[in-house]
Symmetry: C2
Subunit: 226 residues, 2 copies
């Protein structure tokens, strides 16, 4: 059975929340708030990374977190408790992704006055969230070492839409068949302009690099506002 | 900001492929073919587990693999090459899950006469695949240690619909904050009848347990046929 047959299953993928997304981006821009859409597989370390990142940035920036989850609220509680910033839990009611309308519901609940930075932690999923523009100004993905260096090949759209890929859990690299250079190559194959930042959220290694990168993004964002 | 507000985003989740799924189950039963729906996060080790499992079982059973992927065909090729069994690649065209109609398209392409066992490797995703009955007789999930022992709490439906949970990558347990007992407890909280089998697909540890469990499932399945 050497020959592998391939069957294309064609499906219409639902689109057209683009207008909502563009509206969100414009409105946030008017308020000087920069929105990051943070995506990853389940268990890649989004919440731990966020917690470390907020504690590095919160003296410099007014930050709000929108935490999307299917039905638990542990992540928003953890972030709120460990960082003190405003964290809002969005329940998707079983939905596998956030679209712009859902994001808007979260944004409308923010009480912090004109936050500089809003980070939306999307549902842990490498497929669906990539298909929906949330209205964010930029999308980040966290790829963790145990998932394998081939993930950009298998989840093309996710790596095409993310301008920043954080490679997390680099401390366990010796225990996995994970080639960092190969991984970077696979990421750049999907998006040749991607910024790649290796970190270990658990120990905090590399978090400063992510923080500095975000500060630079914000300088550009606020600069363009004038 | 101690208080965390929770906003429910209500969504209608598309259902009603139940009739197709029931039709598949009946038709397969008439042919004596048992269908397993294998789900997991990206990178949990579905393909490696399958390869080891097939090589353990292929002398005893006629096996066919349906490999769903968004657009690559590396998994079907790997399985076909390393095991020699019939492996069919299903391209979902960006879709995040398989439903019964998609599964049927794959089943219709099988050339092996009346296989005993068909394993459908679903798209790597802990959310959407859980919502769609593929027509399988049973659903398995592979949860890998690096994802964390809390995943059953965060992806409830997946762990509710899976009767078997394989805990993979137990060799790296010392390097992660992963409590096996806590994980089992969380799985059983979602489905108190779940069968839990810890393995390390890379070294082959525990594969025999999965193989024996499948042989037992097949004995019951074939027994009921008469």
């Amino acid at each position: 059975m050497d020959e592998v047959r391939i069957i294309e299953i064609k499906q219409n993928v639902f689109k057209a929340n683009q207008i909502n997304a563009d509206g969100i981006r414009k409105e946030l821009k008017d308020h000087g708030s920069f929105l990051i859409n943070l995506m990853s597989s389940p268990g890649a370390g989004k919440t731990t990374t966020l917690t470390k990142l907020i504690n590095t940035l919160k003296e410099k920036l007014k930050i709000v977190i929108l935490e999307a989850d299917i039905d638990s609220d542990v992540d928003a509680k953890k972030i709120s408790k460990e960082t003190g910033v405003e964290a809002i839990q969005l329940h998707t009611g079983g939905m596998c992704h956030l679209d712009a309308a859902m994001t808007k519901q979260g944004l409308d609940e923010i009480r912090t006055e004109k936050p500089d930075l809003i980070i939306l932690e999307n549902v842990g999923n490498l497929v669906c969230p990539a298909e929906f523009d949330t209205g964010a100004h930029i999308s980040f993905n966290i790829l963790s070492v145990p998932e394998g260096d081939d993930k950009p090949l298998k989840y093309p759209l996710m790596f095409e839409v993310c301008d920043v890929v954080i490679i997390n859990k680099i401390d366990v690299m010796p225990y996995f068949d994970f080639n960092l250079e190969k991984c970077k190559e696979n990421i750049l194959f999907r998006n040749k302009k991607a910024t790649i930042i290796p970190i270990c959220a658990k120990t905090g290694e590399g978090i400063d690099n992510v923080a500095n990168y975000i500060l630079e993004l914000l300088r550009n964002f606020k600069g363009k506002e004038e």
